[in-house]
Amino acid sequence: MWFFDNLALGFSVALTPINLFYALLGVFLGTVIGVLPGIGPMTGIALLIPITFGLPPTSAIILMAGIYYGAMYGGSTTSILVNTPGESSSVVTCFDGYQMAKQGRAGPALAAAAIGSFIAGTFATLVLMLIGPAVAAFALNFGPPEYFTLMLAGLTVVTSLAGRSLVKALLATTIGLAIATIGIDLQSGVPRYTFGNPELLDGLEFLVVAIGLFALSEVLVNLADLRQAIQERLAIKGGLWLTREDWRRATPAFIRGTLSGFFVGGIAGAGAAVASFFSYGIEKKMAKHKAELGTGAIEGVAAPEAANNAAAGGALIHLLCLGIPGSGTTAIMLGALLMLGLQPGPLLFQQQPQFVWGLIASMYIGNAMLLVLNLPLVGMWVKILDIPLYLLVLFIILFSFLGVYTMNNSTQDLFLLLVFGILGYLLRRLDIPAAPIILGMVLGDLMEQAMRQSLLISDGSYAIFVTRPFSLFFLLLAIVSITNPYWKYIGVGLRRWFGRGAPA
């Protein structure tokens, strides 16, 4: 059995004391980040990338993945006890979770969230293990044209789901692509947009932009309005365990949430927030006690919490098998891996089996650790909210500067960090999303390279992007994803047009 061998290899990597430590550190930090409102997984991973500098890539990805799915666990705790979602993907959990806590059933709500996350996380890892190698093997057939259009589709899918305005999100994407063009053009050796500054020849540092746009801007957002709302916390009464009745109601919700989250949020690239809303919608249609949803039904906690974890696991499939980030968070992880000199993609499964299988094994371990960390220690996590906001702000400043400085030992990078922090704040005020900027920045170079290689193959003809079936498919996917907000208007317009002609 090939995958038992692989899995054995994976566990032999993941069970070394040092990697166990990084998995634990990752899920611990992830839970902290999940609990803290305002600091999402993107900000958290960007801030903590510098810790991974000295690490081998396997330990680095184990740590980052731990933060990623740990944050999905942590987000639910504050949704349930404080009615404040720690992450955008835990907004839905507030609806029923807080109601349950108000009725004195905080324990079962927390347990359902943790168990749902565990089931979904383990399922996503299992699927990654079973289909990952096949997807990667299939993707090995992709040539540059397929890669170019696949990246284009990834870019447009994420962009179309970022922020309130499509125009602003697309504008953010082009800014990211523009940032990617700074520095020496690798193919021709010609410097672009460097204005004679030698430090710009390598381009803008990914970490400076990421930490500036996500972490430092968060500082300024909080400083602009430091008045801290005193949040009423609900105590955990009674046991944490689920009754037989709870299990009977939650189990189908776990399954529905896991499946919908994995396919909608993960494979389709819609992200964890959409996945949790989607699964809540399914519960509203399919749950046995659907009338109770919104008033403290356990299904309303079980399904979305399973869904957001499944989505996080699913997003890793894109990253590992195709080398394409399917979300803002995985874009940051891709940027970090590229900094460590590792190019994720289909070849990874063949060339770096210890990396891929080590990560997979660590995800099983990490999910189990989270279950243990979260249920008995839930009181401790809630205490984190006692940290005054201004101290948190000062610590984010400290970490941002520390991380950016250790990268190149350059104070010019610190100036750029400030500039991008201010820029990030202005963008937040204008409601322009920052995630597409990061995605554009990470994918820009890769896309340019793929496009040039494609045109080299076709001798300059752009037809190569539409004559190859998969390339055409990805291209259509890209078009569909950015035009879909306008479909209803087109539909209404068409109906009006034809309605006028047809007899009433």
């Binding site: 309130r164 010609v190 101290l391 520390l402």
Partner: protein
């Protein structure tokens, strides 16, 4: 909506500059290529011009109706309040700027300690004893963790003379 108008015009100007620089500052390589180094920047420039143009139109004619339900579903970030404590922001930006300047001359631990203490004094003065202690532990703690455990060299500043 004034902010959006200004921003849209700024974006438009930025796009124009970026586009123009693609023609003027990028040298042609000696070997002819199918897609030269200026092709991608020009394409991005055109896209950016179109999008910022649409943004200008939208911001001057009133932005389209925003669908808050959709925003919640896709997990869009909360809108930032327009209420601003300018004084706090300006002071803290000043502190960070000074921090950058002092980072190497004073060394990491001292510069960080000063940044933290000044920052805490600006933001909340009620717990200064506790905050000073936190600042000391954090700045020196991180310095020693990074230089001794992680072997990442941070500027030592005057501490160098103490052999630390």
């Amino acid at each position: 909506m004034k902010e959006n108008r200004i921003a849209s015009v700024v974006f438009c100007l930025f796009a124009l500059t970026y586009f123009a620089l693609a023609f003027t500052t990028i040298a042609q390589p000696s070997v002819l290529q199918i897609l030269g180094p200026d092709a991608f920047p020009k394409a991005i420039g055109v896209l950016m011009l179109i999008l910022s143009g649409v943004y200008v139109l939208q911001s001057f004619r009133g932005l389209g109706r925003e669908d808050e339900t959709r925003a919640a579903i896709i997990g869009a970030e909360d809108k930032v309040g327009t209420h601003i404590e300018w004084k706090t922001i300006a002071l803290m930006l000043g502190v960070m700027l000074v921090y950058v300047f002092l980072f190497e001359p004073l060394g990491y631990p001292i510069a960080t300690f000063l940044m933290f203490v000044t920052g805490a004094a600006i933001l909340d003065r009620r717990h200064w004893k506790r905050d000073t202690l936190i600042a000391a532990v954090a700045s020196f703690g991180f310095y020693f963790t990074f230089s001794l455990v992680l072997r990442v060299q941070l500027p030592a500043g005057p501490l160098r003379w103490l052999g630390l």
